[in-house]
Symmetry: C2
Subunit: 358 residues, 2 copies
């Protein structure tokens, strides 16, 4: 499958060389959850995320020590680093000094106009974009009440921050308007997209555990991406950040926007199932998580839909009354004993991907 | 939140008293994966699914013994039962004799026109609707090639089956057009919705493991439901069918179409986190899975977005430098020690829901 990189009509911003917006592929990002001051631990997490396909990483910078630690982290990070700043202009300037590739900062939260001017000047001179990121949880109650709805409040709040940057002639802006409510998030991004052509960083905030977080994120981002809205995504999960990255690729693959890693097509089983679909699919998913080549694998319980799915996949297994029939690149390749199935599939998958097991 | 039950413009069909289509709430269904002949085991699964909120249950009927077992199952099932039939008209007639509330059957697969007429006559007289369910995996290669694209093949195949029923004057039709490819599924349903006003059963087929299955299903069904397409849903997962039901409600809740059970809003944590968000959120989700009352619970690591989310939830906990602050119905309710947090939240949640722990 060739990913569909239709121009989404937004401006293009470079974040440490990663191009975001326009017709560029939707960029996958995540955020570390380590203590930023712990350089070793943070770098280990960044490297793991980069291996999983993360293309931009954001770090919380809650204090000066964190801002300084950025220098060492950036020097050894395989991917561009964004500093997440709240309120304190000194932390923004120190992060810029540390060589950060991007800032997430809401200009309206910087009380001193002079300090903001200085941040904008340095960011401009270093080619560092700024993401204006408003969030339903941090919009003051009075702002929400003034605007009548959470959607209006999010959009108005983002526009206030954006205006401050625009007044200073700064254009390397990205925008996010995340709510923990899916419909509010969708409506806010649609409104913003109609008002400005800055690249949009989309996400559902505080989406929750793996289970409900995947559902809320895939539904909300799915609707937006299917409309051509969204230039970079983060799926926020209360789970391992590597799961965020894998979830991003799974979502983008399903919408034909990116094509990385293994897709397991598997049936939910019923009274007809002739192989242990759940066990086999779960084992393959887990043990092929590090494969980055695009690969579609079908694990199907019976002959009703099994042969069709197997033939349309790179690799397939179908439970039949005559044993487990396997398929390679659409052609039947004999039968395999149940006890050998996972090992056989893993071996073939690594062969097809041209990648060794990690 | 009041669910939004705007009329979706489809006809209304009754499935054993459960109304599907028009302005009725989107109906949640699942399928058993037990051996249908094992009445006891099947009934146990059906009851568990009904408790989780499943409103219609489908059973595979691959042989006569299964068709006969339906009688005992239906007599004791708390929810309407659909028989899933492939090719064999006798199994359809025996299932109707057993009192089944719905059939899933593709008329074109019944070779004898006379047998089909008999099925339609009995279904009509008993008020049993028939779902035409086409599936990318079982569309013959020649049909796919003839129609050029998988979307055209799915729609053309469904229309052939539908025409057979329409010619016989049968109107209690539901339609599904499931592909394992998300974009193909979306396109096929859009086309069908423009051609006929039969209620649509939507789903992504063979969506895979919990992880990728939730993502593909939420993205595909999310896009359709957000457009007002879809009258009943099944999320097919290679996992426990109760997860299918919980996933349906989580998706429908996020789109404001149904409102059942507990929603956990939780942050992904970062360097600022002041409480163990992952552990707390996961424990609450697991131990509140049986609560059916709508309840929004926020578990937030820090004061940036925490207080806002907590105030907009029924119950909230926020990690702060001064300890874990808890909220009930939007108001602060003191601080709780980390070791007591889960127990405190569970107790309050059960109080608010007016339901005891199961």
């Amino acid at each position: 499958m060739q990913p569909n990189n239709q121009d989404r009509g937004t401006r293009v911003v470079s974040l440490g060389g990663v191009m975001i917006g326009g017709g560029n592929p939707v960029v996958v990002q995540s955020m570390t959850n380590t203590d930023t001051r712990d350089v070793k631990k943070t770098l280990r997490q960044v490297r793991g995320l980069a291996e999983a396909g993360c293309e931009v990483i954001r770090l919380a910078v809650p204090d000066q020590e964190s801002a300084r630690a950025l220098q060492k982290i950036i020097a050894r990070s395989p991917i561009p680093v964004v500093a997440d700043i709240h309120f304190d202009p000194k932390l923004a300037l120190e992060s810029l000094d540390s060589g950060v590739h991007g800032l997430r900062l809401n200009p309206g939260n910087i009380r001193s106009r002079k300090a903001l001017r200085e941040i904008v000047r340095v960011a401009e001179s270093r080619g560092v974009p700024i993401r204006v990121g408003v969030n339903s949880g941090s919009i003051a109650r009075d702002v929400r009440e003034k605007h009548g709805s959470a959607v209006e409040a999010l959009v108005a709040s983002a526009m206030e921050h954006i205006s401050l940057l625009e007044e200073m002639g700064f254009a390397a802006i990205k925008v996010s308007l995340k709510a923990s409510d899916v419909m509010t998030t969708i409506a806010a991004y649609r409104r913003m997209r109609a008002m400005r052509d800055y690249p949009l960083h989309i996400g559902i905030t505080e989406a929750g555990t793996l289970f409900s977080g995947l559902i809320k994120s895939a539904a909300g981002l799915g609707v937006l991406l299917a409309e051509g809205i969204g230039d970079t995504i983060r799926i926020s999960l209360a789970a391992d950040p590597q799961d965020e990255v894998r979830a991003c690729y799974s979502l983008l693959r399903s919408l034909k926007l990116r094509n990385r890693g293994v897709e397991i097509v598997a049936c939910p089983t019923c009274a007809r199932a002739g192989l242990d679909v759940f066990k086999t699919a779960a084992a393959l998913e887990r043990r092929l998580a590090s494969v980055s080549s695009p690969l579609r694998i079908a694990v199907m319980g019976c002959g009703v839909n099994g042969p069709g799915e197997a033939r349309h996949s790179d690799l397939g297994a179908v439970g039949t009354p005559k044993g487990i029939q396997v398929y390679v690149k659409g052609a039947r390749a004999g039968t395999v004993e149940a006890r050998d199935l996972t090992a056989w599939m893993l071996k073939k998958a690594h062969e097809l991907a041209g990648e060794k097991e990690k």
